[in-house]
Assembly symmetry: C2
Homo-oligomer: 304 residues x 2
């Protein structure tokens, strides 16, 4: 088993990373770094620099911090010769991920910019089905309740927190994986709460007749669906990429998101074995393009 | 002499592109495409598709359209096997320039995403002087009067027009050319006029202690300056990269911006001779990052 340290023990670490590592035969959670979070029975450090100095035996670091503080932690780990796995989005800016990638290549270590939704159970099958088909149009609906998934996390609505693009980039990570040809943002509408610096809803028009509707104010049932019309049939991915329908009929997957992070850690083990990098920024490019090109609307103030 | 067509006969075409082509021994302006603009004695087409169909003898197309409509024209020209030169910024989104680059490579033709300020007279010397030095800090001031340089051009304040980043990206194109190490946007403040969809002023904090102050409301003297402190002396570029100072003393260049576009067309001739591409998106990445990461302020309405 390979030793790994988790940095940033918040909700996503407790919900997904810790169980995925614990259930893996390839990884052993050997340390954490967090100001307030703890994992029972695992040594914790408050500063990543202290971890890196005290535990040279831990060669791999997985970062679950929010995007803005993540860069400095990733630099420190890479400079110390550690392999690094990044939660999504891999950075608050494109340029900082380019810098991390350059550093990982210079150090000869792994950098894995993970996209957990790409590991959803029906994504690979959707990609195979779409390959060779012509996209005639598509629609993405990604509506969830920020109070449920990010309770009290003010950083998500601060500058650099990305707001509704934090979940929306999951949809875009699937889209960029499964489309036979890359899509571009043609126009975007971004709804900013009057008291926040990141959008709470967004509507994108993309090339190939694809539209996207992202909303962080969805109460009741949550929706993570995408549908495509092609020259020979329709495809739908539901449940965040975990359930596949072809021409309206069930075609694979299952109603659970719990397979995504175990798949990411299995891929990380394979990358570390080769000291290889996996850094695809195309979902982040679409988000940056939407911010650069988008129209901004001011909407009702939001409080958690 | 090689035949070239100019698409988009507006102010920048008349001020810079037409004189640069006319004074070149390598190029002959053989057609234009414009709804309203004309160049005396040169055949004009209203649609680029008509030019491409009617004039197979013209192998090179230079696009001076605003960024939003430029993509479709560039696609048409590349698909028709023409070499293409793009005014800056090369696109309204990063993804569309990636798509154009992929298309140019597939077609085996030149795509030149030009950055005219990189061709300013003191930029190459500044790059040489900075190489091997450590940047301790820097400051960019890029303040110009939008009414003087873009009279009545409402597109510049529409979504995708980039606002003050239209000139600001010139500064960033120099910055990304001359710095020994890449810079990243750490934070940004963007001032949007209440009646517009693009910022009229912006302040950026970049890595390496570099700050930038972009303003489109500058009346009177215009300012396009950047200064850097290093571990061994200071460097200043003034007049948009055309004048160099080292440790406060004049060190080259001249007080004119008129050498930039002739240098671009000379470079384009060299690229076309090899069917090579020159597409560096790093200035556009910094702008997209500033939009994604920036704080938005609402400021006074703006009318031309």
């Amino acid at each position: 088993m390979r030793k790994i340290a988790l940095v940033g023990i918040g909700k996503i670490a407790q919900d997904q990373h810790v169980p995925s590592i614990s259930s893996s035969s390839e990884w052993r959670l050997s340390a954490t770094v967090s100001r307030h979070g703890r994992v029972d029975g695992v040594e914790n450090f408050v500063q990543i620099e202290d971890l890196l100095a005290a535990r040279p035996d831990i060669g791999v670091v997985s970062l679950c911090l929010p995007p803005v503080p993540r860069f400095a932690a990733a630099c420190a780990a890479l400079r110390a010769g550690r392999h690094v796995m990044l939660e999504k989005p891999p950075g608050a800016t494109i340029a900082e991920v380019h810098a991390l990638h350059d550093l990982a290549l210079a150090q000869g270590v792994t950098l894995f910019a993970s996209w957990h939704s790409r590991a959803a159970q029906a994504v690979a099958a959707a990609k195979v089905w779409l390959s060779g088909r012509e996209i005639r149009g598509g629609h993405i609906i990604w509506r969830e309740d920020v109070r449920k998934w990010h309770p009290g996390q003010d950083w998500i609505f601060a500058a650099g927190g990305m707001g509704v693009f934090d979940p929306g980039i999951n949809a875009l990570s699937i889209l960029t994986e499964i489309l036979p040809q890359p899509a571009r943002v043609l126009s975007a509408e971004l709804d900013f709460p009057a008291n926040r610096q990141a959008p709470i809803a967004a509507r994108l028009s993309l090339s190939q007749g694809i539209s996207a509707d992202f909303d962080f104010r969805q109460e009741g049932p949550q929706t993570w669906d995408m549908e495509f019309e092609t020259d020979s049939g329709t495809l739908a991915l539901r449940m965040g990429g975990n359930v596949l329908e072809i021409n309206g009929q069930p075609a694979g997957g299952q109603m659970s998101i719990m397979g995504e992070y175990p798949a990411l850690y299995a891929h990380m083990a394979e990358l570390v074995a080769r000291s290889a990098c996996d850094v695809d920024l195309s979902p982040l490019v679409l988000v940056a393009d939407a911010f650069m090109l988008g129209r901004r609307n001011s909407v009702k103030e939001f409080e958690f």
